[in-house]
C-alpha cells in the first residue's frame, strides 16, 4: 500500500499581501495613480488569481486582460515588481523576495505601448509592425495548388525556427526593450524574432523584400544588445540569436552597402584581421563617413583630445604581440569559411 498520501489534509499557508496597482482611466484621470489592495493570499496563488480576487471581492473597476490563465495565450503581460511577465504564471509568494517595500507587490502595465486603462495597453502598434515587416510566409506554392502536396522540410530547418515559433506575442520583450523606449518606431524584438523565423523558412519567397525592410532605419541594426528581451522572455526564447541571425544574413546577402550598422560591424572584422586590435578613433567615420563625424562628433573629439582620451590623428594603435602568427590563423580561418559556404551552396 502506498502511504505518502496519509490522511492529513493539504496544509494551506496564508498571509496578507498588499498589491499596489497602477490605475489610470483616461476618461476621468488627469494622471495615473496607485491603489493599494491588501488581501489574504495562500501559497500557490498566482498574481493573476490575486487580481481576479481583487476584482471580484474588493474593487470591480480594476481593469486588466486575462484569457487562458495558463501561460499560453499571452494576454496578461504586465510588470510585476518592475519586470514584465505573465501574471498568470507568476507566483505571488515568489515575488515577495523581490518587493522593494516588504509585503507590497507593485503591479503596473507593460511599457513602450500606449496605455488604454489601468493594466491594459494598446497592442495595435505591435500588430502594425508585424504587417510592416511582412511577418508571414508568402508561399512558393501557388494558391491553386495548395493542399495537394506537402513540402519536405528537414529536421535541421525545423530546428532553426522551432524556438522562435514558441513566441506568444505577450509583448514582455517589447515592454523591456531599451531601443523601443528610446524610439517608438523601432521594429521591436518580437517582430525581429518573427521576421527571422520567416526568413529561415524555405517555403517563403519574400526573404529579400523582408530583409531589405529590416536593414532600414529603425530596423535590425538599431538593437543595442542589452539582452533584456531575451532575459524577460516568458518562453525563454533566445531572441538575440534571431537578431544576430538576421544581421549575419544581411551581411552575407547585402554586404555593407545598407547602413551604418553593417559598416560598423564589418569594421571590427577588418581591424582584428589587420592589427588584432580595434582602432576606435576611426570607427565613427568608418561607420558614418567623414562628414557625419565632423558634424556630430567634432566638439566632443576636441574635448577628448584635450583630455588625452583620444590621440590627435592619425591614430596609432600598437598591434597585438605575435600578430604575424595570428594574422596567418585568421586568414586560414577565412579559407575555412569560404569552403563552408561553397559546400553549403552545393
Amino acid at each position: 500500500m502506498h502511504m505518502t498520501g496519509a490522511a492529513e489534509q493539504h496544509k494551506e499557508e496564508k498571509r496578507d499581501i498588499t498589491f499596489r496597482v497602477f490605475r489610470f482611466n483616461p476618461q476621468v484621470d488627469i494622471k495615473p495613480y496607485f491603489d493599494d489592495y491588501t488581501i489574504p493570499v495562500e501559497r500557490g496563488i498566482t498574481v493573476l488569481r490575486a487580481l481576479n480576487y481583487i476584482k471580484e471581492h474588493v474593487d470591480p473597476t480594476v481593469s486588466f486582460r486575462a484569457f487562458c490563465q495558463a501561460g499560453i495565450c499571452g494576454s496578461c503581460g504586465m510588470r510585476v515588481n518592475g519586470i514584465s511577465k505573465l501574471a498568470c504564471t507568476t507566483q505571488v509568494w515568489e515575488e515577495l523576495d523581490r518587493c522593494k517595500e516588504p509585503g507590497i507587490l507593485k503591479v503596473e502595465p507593460l511599457r513602450n505601448m500606449p496605455p488604454i486603462k489601468d493594466l491594459i495597453v494598446d497592442m495595435d502598434p505591435l500588430v502594425d509592425k508585424m504587417k510592416h515587416y511582412m511577418n508571414w510566409i508568402d508561399s512558393s506554392m501557388p494558391e491553386s495548388e495548395m493542399g495537394k502536396k506537402e513540402f519536405l522540410v528537414s529536421e535541421d530547418e525545423f530546428l532553426k525556427y522551432d524556438k522562435a515559433t514558441d513566441c506568444i506575442l505577450c509583448a514582455s520583450c517589447v515592454s523591456e526593450c531599451t531601443i523601443l523606449r528610446a524610439h517608438k518606431e523601432y521594429v521591436s524584438p518580437a517582430v525581429l524574432l518573427k521576421s527571422y523565423r520567416m526568413n529561415v523558412d524555405s517555403r517563403d519567397t519574400i526573404h529579400d523584400t523582408r530583409l531589405a525592410e529590416l536593414v532600414k532605419d529603425h530596423g535590425v541594426w538599431d538593437c543595442t544588445h542589452c539582452y533584456r528581451c531575451q532575459e524577460t522572455c516568458v518562453k525563454s526564447i533566445p531572441i538575440m540569436d534571431a537578431i544576430h541571425g538576421i544581421r549575419e544574413n544581411a551581411l552575407e546577402v547585402r554586404g555593407t552597402k545598407d547602413t551604418s550598422g553593417a559598416k560598423h560591424a564589418e569594421a571590427f572584422m577588418d581591424d582584428i584581421a589587420k592589427k588584432g586590435k580595434l582602432v576606435e578613433a576611426t570607427l565613427p567615420f568608418r561607420t558614418n563617413g567623414v562628414l557625419w563625424t565632423v558634424k556630430n562628433l567634432l566638439p566632443m573629439a576636441v574635448k577628448m583630445i584635450m583630455k588625452r582620451r583620444t590621440p590627435p590623428p592619425p591614430p596609432m594603435v600598437k598591434p597585438s604581440k605575435g600578430i604575424k602568427a595570428f594574422r596567418e590563423e585568421f586568414r586560414e580561418m577565412t579559407e575555412h569559411v569560404k569552403d563552408d559556404q561553397q559546400s553549403h551552396n552545393k
Partner: protein, 567 residues
Amino acid sequence: MKPFDIVIVGGGGAGLYAAMEAMKTNPSLNIAVLSKVYPNRSHTSAAQGGANAALANKAKDDTVEMHIFDTIKGSDYLADQDAVDILCSEAPKIIRELDNIGTPWSRLDDNTIAQRPFGGAGRPRCCYCADKTGHTILQTLYEQCLKKGVFFFNEYFSLSLSVNNSRMRGLLAMNMKTGKIEAFPAKTVIFATGGYAKMYWNRSSNAAGNTGDGQAIAYRAGIPLKDMEFVQFHPTGLRKSGLLVTEGARGEGGYLVNKDGERFMARYAPEKMELGPRDLVSRSIETEILQDRGFDSPAGKYIHLDLTHLGAELIKSRLPQIREMSMNFEGVDPIEEPIPVRPTAHYSMGGIDTDNYGRTVMDGVYAAGECACVSVHGANRLGGNSLLDILVFGRIAGHTAAEEAGKFEPGVISPEEIKAKDEELRSFMQSSGHYERYGALREELGQTLALNVGIYREASKISRGMDELSLLKERFKKIRVFDSSDIFNTNLMQVLELQNMLDLAETVAAGALAREESRGSHTRNDFPTRDDEKWHKHTIATLDNGTVKLGQKPVTMGRYELQERTY
C-alpha cells in the same frame, strides 16, 4: 458603417480559416473578423496534441476510412456519418494546406509531416508541432489573414444578432476600447466563438472567455442548438484552476491516491489501473470524491496525483512541463509533494446546429468549430479531432458564406436598436435594485453544474440543478456592474459573459435531464446503459418564450451500423 458581405464572430482557428477561405473564394468581398480578444490569444492556442489526418506518413497502411470509423465509434455512434466523412476526407488536404502556408509541423526522418499515436485512433495519424500545435496553427492563420488584409475588429464584444421577421440584418457589438455599441450590417454572419465548457468555471480547463457567446447569441435569436448535454471531462485537472495535467503523468507511472493513501483505481480498473480510458478514470475519481475519500480544501475536494516515487531525475527529464504547471498554478513541486487534481470540463460537443456546409436554419447565419455542432463528435470527441473540426468546417463555412453572400441583401440596423441595447447594458450599472455580485453568481453557477450536471448525472440532481439555475437567472436580473466607465469595461464584459453561460447552462441541464440513457460523455446513474431505440437521436434546444424547448433530430447513418463501444 458600410455593410459587410461577411462578418465572422471569433478569431480562433475556425474564424480565421473561414476568413482566409472566404477571401480566397471571392477576393472582392468585404469581410470583417470580430474578436473579443486579439485573434492570436484565442483558445485554439491551448490545443497541444495535434490534428488527425490519414496522411499515412507514419503508418503507411492508414486510410481515411479507418479515421472515419475511429471517429464514429469514438462518438458512441451519435456523430452524423456523412459529416464525419467530410471531416476525415478533407483532413489530409487541410493539413497539407497548413503546411503550404507555413505551419511549422514537426517532421519525420523522411522530412514529411510527423504523426503520432493518440487515444482512440487505430493508427498514428495525429499531426503535431511539438506540444504547441494549436498555438502554431493559430499563429499561421493569423499571419495569413494579416497578409490578405482581413479587416480585424479586435476587442469587440458581440452582443446580438439583429433580426427582423427571421431575416438576419447584421450584428451588434461593443467596442471595448470605447464602450460604444457599433452596428455591423451584414449579408452573412459566421459564428466561430469556441466552446462553452467554461460554464463549469473552476472545474474547467478552458480559457476564461470560453463562455459560449456565439451559441448564446444565436440561441436568443431563435436558432436551435444541438446536443448541448454532451460535455467532455478530463480526469486530471489542477484543483485551483482546472488546468489540465496531461495523461503523460500517469503514462510515466503516476499514482492516483485518495485521502486514505489508497491507489483507488484498483477498485475500478484492476488491470489497467491509472491508465484506464479517460471517461472511466474521470468517473472513478469523481466517485472517490463523492464517497468522501477525497481531500478537502477551500478550493473544493480533490485527490492526489502522486509522482514523488518517480524521483527527481525522471520528473525533470520526462515531465518538465507538468512540473512547471504544478509549481506555477498550485505552488506544488511534484518532486516533493503529490499534485492536487480532480476531473475538469474541457470540451463541449454540443453547439449551434448546422448542416454539413455550416448553415444554420436562419438564412445568412453560419457557424463552425467548437461553437457549432455538425455533428462530427457525437457524444464524445476523439483526441486530435477538435483542431481538425475547426479547420475543416471553418474553411467550409467561409467558403459557403462567400458563395452565398450574393444571395442576401445587406440589412439596415436602426439607431433605435443600438440605443435600446445601450440602455439594456446601462441598466446593469444602476444602483437601485441592483446588488448581486458577478463573482458570487458565477461561482454558484460553476458549482451547481459540477455537482448536478457534471460527470455523474441523475434525474433528481439535474432537476435540483435546474431549479438552482432558475434562481440564478432571477438573481442575475439584479446583478450590478460596478464599473461605470466606457473604456475597457471588463466588469461589464464579465457580466455579459455570465449571462451567456446562464442561458446555455439551461440547455445543457435540460438536455441532460431528457436524455434517459448513458452515452459517451453523458453518464446517467439512473439509466446506466446506451438506449439506441429511444435515444439514438440528436437533442435540439430552442428558446421558446424564455424557456428551453427540446426537440429531436435523427442521426445520419451510413456505412457503419450501431455497435457496442468497447476498447
